[in-house]
Amino acid sequence: MKGSLAVYRGLIDGGINFICSVPCANLKNLLNLIESERKIFHLPTTREEEAFGICAGAYLSGKKTAILMQNSGLGNSINAIASLYKVYQIPTLLIISHRGLLKEQIPAQIPMGLWTEKLLDVCEIPFFKPKNPEEAYKIILEGAKYMDKISYPVAILLDALYWEYDNDVKK
């Protein structure tokens, strides 16, 4: 649980108080933590682009938002990032489970896995790749401030090696 706990604490201490999510197996523990946290309003959504829309509305009414998602959902969100988040200058923190890299077993995950950083580059979304829970906590805390400075999304990419920290026996 170390990996999920660090992300969770980063979100809480970073002042995130509104979250939309589309699940991923790697986000399972984090979603359970968020679901039982009263400081954060959490709404599960049907697809990632919808989450971008709802979080934009929550931001307009004063909330500090985050989206929990798998990198596969980035593709269906590109137009919202361009014509909503870029055009109106809207921040949000993207907590992305990055599938399709080392340790991946599912062939269908690999293309989006390899394209994710390039897509974020195209969208001019700064991204950070914490390697352990300590880094994740620090980066999420700072990312939650930075997104407001740039008035634009900031992404945190958490790959399969990071999620090994949720395996308490191993680490």
């Binding site: 049907t46 919808e50 829309g53 934009a56 509305g57 307009l60 004063g62 909330k63 919202a80 055009v87």
Partner: protein
Amino acid sequence: MRRIEVIKKIVENVKDNEIIVSNIGVPSKELYYLKDRDRNFYMLGSMGLASSIGLGIALNCNEKVIVIDGDGSILMNLGTLSTISYSGVKNLILVVVDNSVYGSTGNQKTHTSKNTNIKKIAEGCGLDSVEVNNLEDFEKEFKKSLNTDKCRVIIAKTIPYNEKVPNIDIPPVMIKFRFMNSLVEK
């Protein structure tokens, strides 16, 4: 019934503190032309997300939030009806102006022109929905929705028609800031 007539009834009946989110394209321009106000949020891109933006606002304020959406946009983000219902939001009124065409792009038919029924889909998601075919019924249902502590979906069946109105000349960031300031002020 034309969309601009529906929007006119909306602006005639909303109180100053109530919030309007309008859909991409001509609907936003028609609202801007009829009555520009700080608590209007004109969505200029991101087709399909007007109802999602409205939901995000409504979950975080006490005032009624009215979304002026269209059949084409709802069809692009059908999951929104499910999420709105699941969220338990009470202060959202979703007006779906259903003219059975993509009116801003040259009146290509949408699936509601054949056999898709948005009222039934909304009901299937657990939402209180009503379909109206004339302006009098629309105003009656809209007033009822404003005075009910419950999320409602009003499907207003209209003919395809775009009023000749100018583009919105406010920069998007200005639309955002004045909207956000108006929520903080009161």
